[in-house]
């Protein structure tokens, strides 16, 4: 820690610049993720998706953003005004704060803390508050029902998700995200997706449920409760919820890439000819491409599966995922103790 005022000021400015360097690309990524989503789902449903604004419709996200920002903010008459306006901010905060510990590369990380994994779990558990406050403050039946549904769902799937991550940390022997990635060195077969295959699948499915995405989007359930917790929000309030939801989806994809598929490590590592060229080196390029693959899976699933029934969601979370994850955590502990997995080989 630097000592003089000037040093501390410079330190703060650099820190803020680093945060901006993460947040601005993230917001752009969210904008183009919505475009990507509409294109992908469009082609899966044999239509073209947005193609009017800009070449190939590439300016569509900005048109949407400006439309939302210029709209009037409607405050429902019986809403609790303060909490109603606070809720979008409370949703967005943790969604962005979680990115602080994500290592994009061996050195490219804002806060390389020892308890990174715990920090991530804590941040993702804070995201619930935005929804529950929004649902209650709107003073609307639909919003409240949506908030209750999504809160119950998130609290339930957080457990399966936490257990899946416990499997990872048993094999890696550390809570530091950078060291978790380094523990997976040695090529595709050394990444944790193989020894933790059930946890890998459960993590992705729980990720879908955590972010309230299809087929677990009963919280929004257009056909039943209009739009769920954000039904009373218009304009920029809605835009902030939207931003948080997509930032969370990208976060879950990035986490899957880090925990189970070796983060920035190259898939060609250890393969004789290609592995010796620049392709064999780990870089941010690999991390981003893995993240994009998982982001695509989010959309693919949405275009493929019909919505789950609510009781089936709860059954899947508590009676199927939790027992499987508990068993596999034991299994991971056994193979770790008997040295069947060599860290960072």
């Amino acid at each position: 820690m630097p000592d003089t005022w000037m040093d501390q000021l410079i330190y703060m400015v650099i820190l803020i610049l680093k945060i901006v360097a993460i947040v601005v690309p993230l917001i752009l990524a969210v904008a183009y993720y919505t475009y990507f989503e509409r294109k992908v789902i469009g082609y899966m449903q044999i239509r073209r998706g947005p193609n009017r604004i800009g070449p190939l419709g590439l300016a569509q996200p900005f048109a949407d953003v400006f439309k939302l920002l210029l709209k009037e903010i409607v405050l429902p008459e019986n809403a609790n005004k303060f909490l109603f306006l606070l809720a979008p901010v409370v949703t967005l905060g943790p969604a962005f704060a979680a990115w602080a510990v994500i290592p994009f590369d061996d050195w490219m990380v804002l806060a390389d803390i020892n308890a990174g994994l715990l920090y991530l779990l804590a941040m993702s558990s804070l995201g619930v508050y935005g929804l529950i406050i929004a649902g209650w403050a709107s003073n609307s039946k639909y919003a409240f029902l949506g908030a209750l549904r999504s809160t119950a769902q998130m609290v339930s799937y957080e457990i399966a998700m936490g257990f899946a991550l416990i499997g990872v940390l048993i094999l890696a022997g550390t809570l530091n995200l950078r060291e978790i990635v380094l523990a997976q060195q040695g090529g595709v077969l050394d990444w944790f997706w193989l020894p933790l295959l059930p946890l890998f699948v459960i993590f992705i499915i729980s990720g879908l449920a955590e972010t309230n995405r299809a087929p677990f989007d009963v919280a929004e359930g257009e056909s039943e409760i209009v739009a769920g917790f954000h039904v009373e929000y218009a304009g920029s309030g809605f835009a902030v919820f939207f931003l948080a939801e997509y930032a969370n989806m990208i976060l879950i994809s990035a986490l899957t890439a880090l925990m189970f598929t070796g983060g920035w490590l190259s898939p060609f590592e250890g393969i004789p000819v290609i592995g010796d060229t620049f392709l064999g080196e780990g870089s941010i390029f690999w991390f981003l491409s893995k993240t994009v693959v998982f982001m695509f899976i989010f959309l693919w699933v949405r275009a493929t599966f019909p919505r789950y029934r609510y009781d089936q969601i709860m059954r899947l979370g508590w009676k199927v995922f939790v027992p499987i994850t508990i068993f596999w955590v034991m299994f991971a502990a056994v193979i770790s103790v008997f040295g069947l997995i060599v860290r960072g080989s």
Binding site: M1, D3, W5, Q8, M12, L83, I113, N114, A115, L118, Y119, L121, A122, S125, L126, V128, Y129, I132, I133, W136, F144, L148, T151, V155, E158, L175, D311, Q312, R315
Partner: protein, 204 residues
């Protein structure tokens, strides 16, 4: 280090203010949210004092799980605030006596000689680089305090089983769905295709 102190006192002030609001505010939902703010600021203060593990666990367990369920219940109860205030004057003397007793006990501990004087708690040495809070806590829990830790686990297990047993009762009138049966249904069991001759229209 001025920044450290600014941040520390800011979070402490927020924490104390929020704690006072928890017990003074009328609306129970506001009270619960202020309690969340209190926990959060306490975690931030702990984080500054280099107990990262406990700080994050405080957020994860109390803010992320316990208080969510609290809010759930409080929001669904339709609490009318007026009857709650009715007995205020009647219970005031008893309340004051209890409060004075507790305050007196606290002050006796704080003012007893040599306990909280500046010299009795020397500044702890800063943790070395790469010191892992989580590892230290884990090592102590699984060696020195293994038995209490395991006993706490068993007590929690008993609580889980009790909670499940309380909700698990047979209600004969309720229809239960069996998802595996629902999934196993074949087309032939539900659909019967019937060939019929189209009716000839009478009136034409």
């Amino acid at each position: 280090m001025p920044i450290f102190e600014i941040v520390f006192y800011a979070f402490s002030l927020v924490m104390l203010g929020a704690a006072v609001m928890v017990i003074t505010v009328r609306n129970p939902v506001y009270a619960a949210l202020f309690l969340v703010l209190t926990f959060f600021s306490a975690a931030a203060v702990w984080m500054l004092l280099e107990v990262e593990f406990l700080a994050i666990i405080l957020i994860l367990v109390y803010v992320g799980a316990v208080m969510v369920l609290f809010l759930f219940v409080v929001m669904m109860l339709d609490i009318n605030v007026d009857p709650l205030k009715e007995g205020f004057v009647r219970y005031l003397p008893a309340g004051i006596i209890v409060a004075l007793l507790m305050a007196g006990e606290l002050l006796m501990v704080v003012w007893s000689k040599g306990r909280f004087e500046a010299g009795s708690y020397p500044l702890p040495a800063p943790n070395p680089q790469g010191y892992s809070n989580t590892k230290e806590v884990g090592e102590v829990l699984f060696t020195q305090y293994l038995l209490p830790f395991e006993v706490a686990g068993v007590i929690l297990l008993v609580a889980i089983i009790a909670a499940v047993a309380l909700t698990l009762r047979q209600r004969p009138a309720v229809h239960r769905q069996n998802p595996s049966l629902q999934v196993r249904v074949r087309r032939d069991e539900r659909i019967r295709l019937v060939k019929m001759k189209p009716d000839s229209r009478q009136d034409s």
